[in-house]
Assembly symmetry: C2
Homo-oligomer: 345 residues x 2
């Protein structure tokens, strides 16, 4: 018998008998409180995908020799479910997350799955957890699809057991400062990703190495690192966000720039949406919208000349976060977040 | 009250009431069967290191939002306990592992600890598990100290909860082929590590990205990848092993070469021992022992000229593994593993 594909129609649901009290919105800390349930699907190399279950939120029981605890067989996605103006629950471009999750899975030697089937399961999960989707500008239910290797053993090889699961957390702003501009440190003493590496995949492995530099940057008053690459100081991304810069040229035309998908940055869904919206909505006589390489030196020079209009980060968790300062080599590059730079057609 | 340091004297031991039957040596698969107990110490940012415990081997109960499952807050060491000629149990250079584990912990924003105290705990653990230390050439008890972030939450920040634990597995040869020469693929289509990255730390994050290329190499008959770096094709390491080459020069003198500790390779304990032994035992009139950069092209050219005497990998799990073939760009570089290259003083 060939291994079974992921099949949403097999879902079984066991609802909690002890539903949680909803937290008031002002008490929501990003990713700290969770809904009542967890969605899980086990996979084995031999049998393929098993029966999807929604059960009361519970701890995972893992052998201490499980591969995800030793060799980082783990990847995830970040998605959000919102209430629309009629109160209906909508997920934002989940198909993009499913595509990316499968790309990550392939690179991490973990099993792939039918993204449409998993989206069906997520929709069922949202029906069960409906009351946890908050209302209000900037509030949403953050969804965390996760895939981990669950084979037991210390030999380093592709997992023959895995667990796909989904948990969800009602959230407001990602940064603890709230919906306020963030300050970044342009970092070249550590490197997040490199050519032919895994920086373009949403693997846990891309995060652990960024925390110690993030702590260093925090001591200097910055909430995140702007990761540079190479002697040229190419700008890549912010770890939790992709990054955009708006410049005005000498002739008065303007440019919105973000680094290209060169394998070293995460192909963000919000990045993609931002580019699509900018190309659709900004006046092409006034604006050019470019995915191109740019260096921290270009940003510094143009800021010095008064040509840097705005800078912002994009990400599912961070949404669109204005950047008002970037420190590089002890000097601050200031961006003004109070302009009305983007006037749509 | 300041956070408590790791204190071995606080250890509590609860022995199993259902001891496992020992497997016969020929049934030992690397890292597949474990001893009766697990050593654990919890850490919190507030209280520091808690009471170390040795209890019956058991699963870990982890909230599905635990940081080690999302952001790869996980690192480990590999050590071995052997029986000496008098049957006494000895660990091999554990102080080196403790140093490296603390370096890894610092880089991964996980807590550091007093390595001497942890070694005392490991010695206690070995007293409890004595019957699992096998006898015989190439057999040992593989020890796996592990440190994971156990804080619950999806914000990406330094863990304020962690778990240090030790499990152990009686082992024979690492490679399933047994104590036989291995064939490598020299790989340049994927890159393991980068300057200013984390390739020199024993983080789980360094392993996940190597498996998909390892599977590709396996389809071509190779058991491991020899990771190249840069357009020059610099040789770095093998993921599970450091790598050494022995050359004979035109004037008949010989050279033992291994790549230098440039931040891109793991500073292996067996690598270090091999260098120490080679420097102490090989005749310096005949041999030079060098940590220097070398490229796959140099190895190929010198093999073509008959100047490649031997190649081997070193690692705690792999011990010293002869390499009899390296495929690069579809061509095979053969090494002869049956010479008596290394005649000690």
């Amino acid at each position: 018998m060939s291994p079974a594909p992921l099949d949403a129609s097999k879902l079984t649901i066991t609802k909690t008998t002890t539903p949680k009290e909803l937290l008031p919105k002002e008490k929501l800390v990003f990713g700290k409180s969770f809904t009542d349930h967890i969605l899980e699907v086990e996979w084995t190399k031999e049998k393929g995908w098993g029966v999807p279950t929604i059960t009361p939120y519970h701890n995972l029981s893992l052998n201490p020799a499980t591969s995800c605890l030793h060799y980082s067989f783990e990847l995830f996605e970040g998605m959000k479910a919102y209430r629309d103006s009629e109160g209906k629950i909508r997920t934002f471009r989940g198909d993009k997350n499913m595509e990316r999750m499968n790309r990550s899975a392939k690179r991490a030697a973990l099993p792939t799955f039918d993204g449409e089937e998993f989206m069906k399961l997520i929709d069922k999960f949202l029906t069960v957890e409906e009351r946890f989707v908050p209302t209000g500008y900037g509030y949403s239910l953050y969804l965390r699809p996760t895939l981990i290797g669950t084979n037991v053993g210390l030999g380093v090889s592709a997992p023959d057991h895995a667990l796909l699961y989904l948990i969800a957390s009602p959230v407001g702003p990602y940064f603890s400062a709230g919906f306020k501009p963030v300050s970044l440190e342009a970092t070249d003493y550590a490197v997040r990703a490199w050519p032919k590496g895994v920086g373009a995949y949403k693997l846990g492995a891309n995060y652990v190495s960024c925390i110690e530099p993030q702590m260093q940057a925090a001591t200097r008053g910055h909430s995140q690192n702007l990761w540079l690459f190479g002697e040229e100081g190419y700008i890549t991304e912010v770890g939790a966000m992709n990054v955009f810069f708006a410049f005005v040229n000498e002739d008065g035309t303007k440019e919105l720039v973000t680094p290209p998908l060169d394998g070293m940055i995460l192909p963000g869904v919000t990045r993609d949406s931002t580019l699509e919206l900018a190309r659709a909505k900004l006046d092409p006589k006034e604006w050019s919208v470019n995915e191109r390489k740019l260096t921290i030196h270009e940003v510094k020079e143009r800021a010095d000349k008064g040509e840097l209009l705005e800078a912002f980060g994009t990400g599912t968790a961070a949404i669109v976060s204005p950047i008002d300062n970037i420190e590089f080599n002890g000097k601050n590059i200031k961006a003004d977040c109070n302009r009305e730079t983007f006037v749509v057609k």
